[in-house]
Symmetry: C2
Subunit: 197 residues, 2 copies
Amino acid sequence: MNSTRDIEALIEMMARLPGLGPRSARRAVLHLIRKRELLLTPLADQMQRVAATARECVNCGNLGTTELCDICTAEKRANGQICVVEDVADLWAMERGGVFKGRYHVLGGTLSALDQIGPEQLRIPRLVARLTEEGVNEVILAVGATVDGQTTAHYIADQLEGRVRLTSLAQGVPIGGELDYLDDGTISAALNARKEI
Amino acid sequence: MNSTRDIEALIEMMARLPGLGPRSARRAVLHLIRKRELLLTPLADQMQRVAATARECVNCGNLGTTELCDICTAEKRANGQICVVEDVADLWAMERGGVFKGRYHVLGGTLSALDQIGPEQLRIPRLVARLTEEGVNEVILAVGATVDGQTTAHYIADQLEGRVRLTSLAQGVPIGGELDYLDDGTISAALNARKEI
């Protein structure tokens, strides 16, 4: 009966993705249908492949297609540093920075009594176990500067205290940032952490 | 070797969609992987289905999964009116408006000497043939108010002149539009087409 039902269903599914709405989903679907061989079929195939193979690294929680992720299997990344992040997106952001050469530990969220997310859900026992297993000497807490993020950071710091060097990312003015556009908290933090030139 | 290669490839493909960039593609892919059963697999299946079945209506150029689209097969839409639009997206926009009860003719672009798009590529001969085949008495030229759109409209008007009533969409202030935000051309057009209250 309705010959556009399949196309409409696809638009509705695309519109549910973060960052897309009904209008951009319609544009994206039309674009995909126009470039069917070049875009739509390969994209569908790739989604099937990722749906079938993507999994979390059993050691650090990073996303990959193997039991242990590339970073956990890379010998040269066992430099005694573990960077604790909330999310795989944060791990990717750190990797794009290209400065950190150690390993990661992906919490997969923050502690939250309301959502019943406790230390086990965030792989914190696994993090504690890694300290001895991997000979870790520094844990960098790179969690968000939110209330939940800082609560989680304090809990982890309590668990690890005295066993390892604990650090956090510096707070201050972003590179290329204009003072006029910064919030008051960032300006205060940058002033408090000012450095000799 | 690189266990995130498949995921990265998927992000790159998503980032090529209109309206998405690298950052939003990463967010979308992480979201899809987290809701694998609920979103990723169904979306991939639906894309396969659309890639296999989507086609243009042989009569009007609308998208669907059948030789003739729903609108061309609906008897009650044969009211003697054809609305000529550039694109399927424009047809969808007209349908959302819900006022037009006739049929459509989707050009699939505008005349362009540079891109070698002539009347045949835009289904204009098919439009001319439909006038007698479907007993059309009015053609509404609902093409964009761009130079290319208006050139195309003039060409079509030349072809159909004297055979059918030719109209175009009214130009003026959009519903809910504030004068302060309108361009000068729209304000002039609205003033010239002013109506008695």
